[in-house]
C-alpha cells in the first residue's frame, strides 16, 4: 500500500469505506518515517504506541458501524510548540528538554476528537523564532525538494513532513509567516487563520498578539478540512473570537468570476525573477476565470519589518520569563534564586532566543516604552488602516509568499538578513488577517514557489476559494519532492498532470 501521498480527504474516505484501516495507514506512515526521516530530520518525537492505539480505536468504531468523525484515521504531525499530554514537548529548545506536558493544547484536543491520529511532534526554530528551522536546538530539518536547502521556518518540520509524505497534514504556528513561508519553501499549502479564529490555549507562547495556529497540507481542500476541525470559540483563550465558523470546504466552488484581486505595488518591487513569473501565472489563472485585478498601494508596508521586530521580541521577552527552572524544564545549579534564573536561562536558550529576549527587554525598559513598543503598536494601526482601505476596493490581496525560493543552510548568518526572509508575510500578522500560501510553480532549479493570499478578517473562505483555483491551474499537481528520490524510489509513475479543480475529497 502506498498511502504516503494520500490527501486528508482521501485517507478518511478510504478508511470509512473499508478500503484500508486506520492501523494500516498508521503503520505505513511510521514505516516511511523510519526510512526517510533519518535524512530529512522532520520529527523530534514519535508517538508510535499512542498513534497505533488511536488508530485501533478508529478501526473498532468502524467495525461497530458507528459514524466516523471527519478526520478518522488521518495521520497528523504537530509542531513542537503545541503541548501534548504525555508526549515530550520542547518548542525546539534545550530549556524544555525532557518535559512531558500534563495536558493537550486545545487544537490537539480538537484533532483527536475529529479522529486524527497524532504521529508525533515535528521540528521548529527554538520557540518558533526563525525562518529556516536552523535555530532548533536539536537538529536541522532538510527541504525534501533539495536536501541542501532549508525547509523554511519556523514550522519547518511541519512543512517538510507534509511535503515528504510523512503525515497527511500538520499543524504549525504563524507569528510572522511561520506557516506560510515554510509552506512556500516546501511546495505545500499553509494557512494562517484570522487572529482569534483558532484557540491559542496550550500553545507555547511566542508573541501573544500575533501567534495563530493553522494547517499545512498537500492541497487546499485539506487545509479547509483541518481548519474546520480546529477553528472556533474556546473560553480558555481570552482572545478567541466567538464568531460563526462556516463550512470551509463549501468555499471551494472554483468560481472566482468577478472576484477583485488586489495587487499591492509594495510587494512586487524586489523578488527573484522565477518568483515573479510564477506569481504572475497565479494572477493570470484567476483572471482567466473571471477575476479582476486591482492595483493597490499599502504605503506603510516598509514599516512592517521594524514594527514586527519590536512587537514580537517585546512580547517574547515577557512570555519567556516563565522559563526560569522553577516549575518545569531544565534547571542550572546555582547558589541563590536569582543566579538560578539567570544561569538556567543562559544555558537553556539558544542565540536567537537570547537576542530577542534582549531586544524585547531593551524595548520595554523604562524610558524606552513609548519610543519603541508604543510606537510599533501605532505603526500597526497604520498598517491595519492600509488594509482596511484596500479591502474597500478588493476582496482578496495576492502577493508572493517569499521574495526567494528556499535558501541553502547557513546562507543567512546575519540576523537581519534572516528577518528579511519574512518581509512579505509579517504585515498579515500585524493586522490580524488570514493568509494562505499556495504553491504556484517551481523555479528553474526545481524549488517550489508560493503565492500568498491575504483576506479580510474571518474571511478564510475566500482565500480557500481563490487558492483552490490557483492550485488547479498552476499548482504542483502530482509533482513530488525530488530530494528524497535516492532514499525512496517512487512507488508511483512520475506523471506530471495538473489536477482539475481541487474539490473537497479530491486526491492529489
Amino acid at each position: 500500500m502506498t498511502s504516503e501521498y494520500w490527501s486528508v480527504a482521501d485517507t478518511a474516505r478510504r478508511i470509512a469505506a473499508g478500503e484500508t484501516t486506520a492501523l494500516a495507514v498508521t503503520e505505513a506512515t511510521l514505516a516511511r518515517i523510519a526510512i526517510v526521516d533519518g535524512t530529512l530530520g522532520a520529527y523530534l518525537a514519535l508517538d508510535g504506541d499512542g498513534a497505533r492505539a488511536q488508530a485501533a480505536e478508529i478501526d473498532r468504531l468502524r467495525a461497530s458501524n458507528a459514524a466516523l468523525p471527519p478526520l478518522a484515521g488521518v495521520p497528523i504531525a504537530l509542531k513542537d510548540v503545541l503541548v501534548t499530554r504525555g508526549l515530550a514537548t520542547t518548542a525546539g529548545s534545550k530549556i524544555l528538554e525532557g518535559w512531558i506536558p500534563p495536558y493537550d493544547a486545545h487544537v490537539v484536543e480538537r484533532l483527536r476528537a475529529a479522529g486524527a491520529v497524532v504521529i508525533g511532534k515535528v521540528n521548529c526554530d527554538e520557540f518558533a523564532m526563525g525562518s529556516s528551522t536552523e535555530n532548533s536546538a536539536y537538529k536541522p530539518t532538510r527541504n525534501p525538494w533539495n536536501l541542501t536547502r532549508v525547509p523554511g521556518g519556523s514550522s519547518g518540520g511541519s512543512s517538510a513532513a507534509v511535503a515528504a509524505g510523512l503525515c497527511a497534514a500538520s499543524l504549525g504556528t504563524d507569528t510572522g509567516g511561520s506557516i506560510r513561508q515554510p509552506a512556500a519553501f516546501c511546495g505545500v499549502v499553509g494557512l494562517k487563520p484570522t487572529y482569534g479564529r483558532v484557540s491559542r490555549w496550550g500553545v507555547v507562547a511566542f508573541a501573544s498578539s500575533l501567534d495563530q495556529v493553522g494547517p499545512l497540507t498537500r492541497n487546499v481542500g485539506d487545509a479547509a478540512l483541518v481548519l474546520q476541525a480546529i477553528a472556533g470559540f474556546d473560553p480558555r483563550d481570552s482572545t478567541s473570537l466567538d464568531a460563526p465558523v462556516p463550512a470551509f470546504a463549501d468555499a471551494l466552488t472554483g468560481d472566482v468570476a468577478g472576484l477583485r484581486i488586489g495587487l499591492p505595488q509594495e510587494f512586487f518591487e524586489a523578488m527573484d525573477e522565477d518568483v515573479r513569473v510564477a506569481v504572475s501565472s497565479a494572477v493570470a489563472a484567476l483572471v482567466e476565470r473571471g477575476a479582476v485585478t486591482v492595483d493597490l498601494s499599502l504605503p506603510h508596508t516598509k514599516l512592517a519589518l521594524p514594527a514586527y521586530y519590536l512587537v514580537a521580541p517585546a512580547e517574547a521577552s515577557s512570555n519567556l520569563a516563565r522559563f526560569d527552572g522553577v516549575r518545569y524544564g531544565q534547571r542550572a545549579a546555582a547558589t541563590d534564586l536569582a543566579d538560578m534564573y539567570a544561569r538556567t536561562r543562559g544555558a537553556g536558550f539558544g542565540p536567537e532566543v537570547k537576542r530577542r529576549i534582549m531586544l524585547g527587554t531593551y524595548a520595554l525598559r523604562a524610558g524606552h516604552y513609548d519610543a519603541f513598543y508604543k510606537k510599533a503598536q501605532q505603526i500597526r494601526t497604520l498598517i491595519k488602516r492600509d488594509f482596511d482601505k484596500a479591502f474597500r476596493y478588493c476582496d482578496v490581496i495576492l502577493t508572493p509568499t517569499t521574495p526567494t525560493v528556499a535558501f541553502p543552510f547557513g546562507a543567512k548568518a546575519n540576523p537581519v538578513d534572516m528577518y528579511l526572509a519574512d518581509v512579505f508575510t509579517l504585515s498579515c500578522n500585524l493586522a490580524g488577517l488570514p493568509g494562505l500560501s499556495v504553491p504556484c510553480g517551481l523555479s528553474g532549479d526545481g524549488l517550489p514557489i508560493g503565492a500568498q493570499l491575504l483576506g479580510k478578517p474571518l474571511d478564510e473562505a475566500t482565500l480557500l476559494r481563490a487558492g483552490g483555483v490557483i492550485e488547479g491551474a498552476v499548482g504542483l499537481g502530482e509533482r513530488r519532492p525530488t530530494g528524497l528520490a535516492t532514499l525512496v524510489p517512487s512507488p508511483r509513475p512520475a506523471r506530471i498532470t495538473k489536477p482539475g479543480h481541487a474539490a473537497p475529497g479530491g486526491d492529489l
Binding site: 481570552s238 473570537l241 521586530y309 539567570a342 527587554t361 531593551y362 524610558g367 510606537k375 501605532q378 505603526i379
Partner: protein
C-alpha cells in the same frame, strides 16, 4: 531624527550604538546570564538590529492610537466560579526539585548581594 514628544527624548534611543554597560544591564533585567563572548556579540548585533528601527522614529504617529487588538474584540468576563484544574500532583510532576506539595528552589537571599532594581 524625531522624538515622541514629551517622552524625554526616548526616541533617540534606537539611533545610537549600544554600550557594553547597557547590554550588561539589559541582561540583568532579562535574568539572562551571558558569557563575555556573548555580551560582545550582542553589543554589535543589537546595535545593528536597532538601526532598523530608525525608520519608525521618522514616522509621524501623532494622534494615531496604539493597537490593542488587531481584530475587534471585547475582553470577556466570566463568573467567579472555581473550575476543575490539574490535580496538584500532576501539576507539580515536572518540577526539577520538590518536597511533597512544595517546589524547592535555592535561597532567594544571599548576604551581601544586591538584587537588580534594588
Amino acid at each position: 531624527m524625531t522624538t515622541d514628544e514629551g517622552h524625554e527624548g526616548a526616541g533617540d534611543a534606537g539611533m545610537s550604538a549600544l554600550t557594553r554597560t547597557e547590554v550588561e544591564e539589559i541582561a540583568v533585567l532579562a535574568r539572562l546570564h551571558l558569557e563575555p563572548a556573548e555580551l560582545e556579540r550582542m553589543e554589535h548585533e543589537l546595535t545593528s538590529i536597532l538601526t532598523y528601527f530608525t525608520a519608525l522614529a521618522e514616522v509621524d504617529t501623532a494622534g494615531v492610537p496604539a493597537m490593542t487588538h488587531a481584530v475587534p474584540m471585547d475582553l470577556r468576563l466570566r463568573a467567579d466560579v472555581a473550575l476543575p484544574s490539574l490535580p496538584q500532583d500532576t501539576a507539580l510532576a515536572s518540577a526539577p526539585r520538590r518536597d511533597g506539595a512544595l517546589i524547592v528552589v535555592p535561597s532567594s537571599i544571599t548576604p551581601g548581594r544586591t538584587e537588580p532594581g534594588a
